[in-house]
Symmetry: C2
Subunit: 200 residues, 2 copies
């Protein structure tokens, strides 16, 4: 007879739900990421998800954590500005790995839920330049806002492009790649910090 440790009667775990949600996010975008759709992908009723997550917001925060958590570790760099740039690049790559990821992370950040892993990594990178805690802690969110805003735009553009829509040929900027523009923005930040350093 079947015993209670029979693994085959196991249904879904919290992890299964998050994985299915991440898949839907990447395949269909945030607009199609509904509780009903996630449930359907798991062959389950929407109400079943509420055993694993108290609400959709919490699920989204979990997805945001997973996305940011996949950011590659950054090794030692020649200087602190390079460290910050590499850290931002790693975060950007992690966001670009999932459709609408920047929007997901930005919204959970704005709601004050979700982990502080991203800001902390950036703060640590800045602090490696010899800045005091106060400066690092103040500068990190500034950087993060830029990164999220920039990638959000990039991903929006990707959407348009995949739909064949070409909105307004922006003459001047066409010469630079999104990646170039991104690191230009990062350099503006580190440049500002550099100046602060020199003025001491």
């Amino acid at each position: 007879v079947a015993t209670e440790e029979n693994e085959t009667i196991r249904r879904h775990s919290r992890d299964d739900v998050a994985t299915a949600a991440l898949q839907i996010l990447d395949d269909y975008g945030l607009g199609d990421l509904t509780m009903r759709r996630i449930a359907a992908a798991l062959g389950v009723q929407a109400s079943a998800l509420y055993w694993h997550f108290p609400n959709k917001q919490t699920l989204l925060a979990d997805l945001a954590d997973r996305i940011v958590g996949r950011a590659a570790p950054v090794g030692p760099q020649p200087d602190w500005r390079r460290t910050v740039a590499e850290e931002c690049g790693a975060l950007r790559d992690a966001l670009l790995a999932y459709r609408d990821a920047a929007e997901v992370v930005a919204s959970t950040l704005a709601l004050g839920i979700g982990s502080t892993a991203a800001v902390e990594r950036l703060a640590a990178a800045i602090a490696s330049g010899g800045f005091d805690e106060e400066t690092s802690q103040a500068a990190a969110p500034v950087l993060l806002h830029f990164v999220l805003g920039h990638v959000q735009h990039e991903q929006q553009r990707m959407q348009y492009d995949s739909l064949g829509i070409v909105p307004e040929g922006r003459s001047v900027l066409d010469g630079q790649s999104p990646s170039d523009r991104f690191f230009f923005g990062v350099e503006l930040f580190t440049g500002g910090l550099e100046l602060k350093l020199r003025q001491r």
Copy 2:
């Protein structure tokens, strides 16, 4: 007998709808800004709104334009960095004037709808520092992303505070006001540009 130029039979204009929506946004927040609620405020069916706006997204874009359009003009300043800071401050004030305004503007910006007024003002301010078109055009969105991200956080905090929720005492930053932190971020940007200028 009544003639067709009788003004009293006039119902609502596009402007009335936007004004009512702006009022609801400020009083109840973006989450409660539904087509049905706007219609109710005007004493009208939700479907009536679709005579004035093709969809909700367009309405939101219009609200974003109105909010940004209310930003105070900035007079001549002692130097370009001050000009940029004042311009950012004016934009911030305009956003702080309406509840959830930063989120409204950010979302329409991300969607690629809505006017480019905000970026253009910032680009002009930067260009006043003697930067070429390419640099100004690349730097302006960077700044805007920061401004929107920052104010979004401020407004989120205001929400929490009004609900009596106090999320995690952030020891280090408590000494600085949101306004201080904002202008610190702006200075990081202009500092980075300043450095670029000196290196030429």
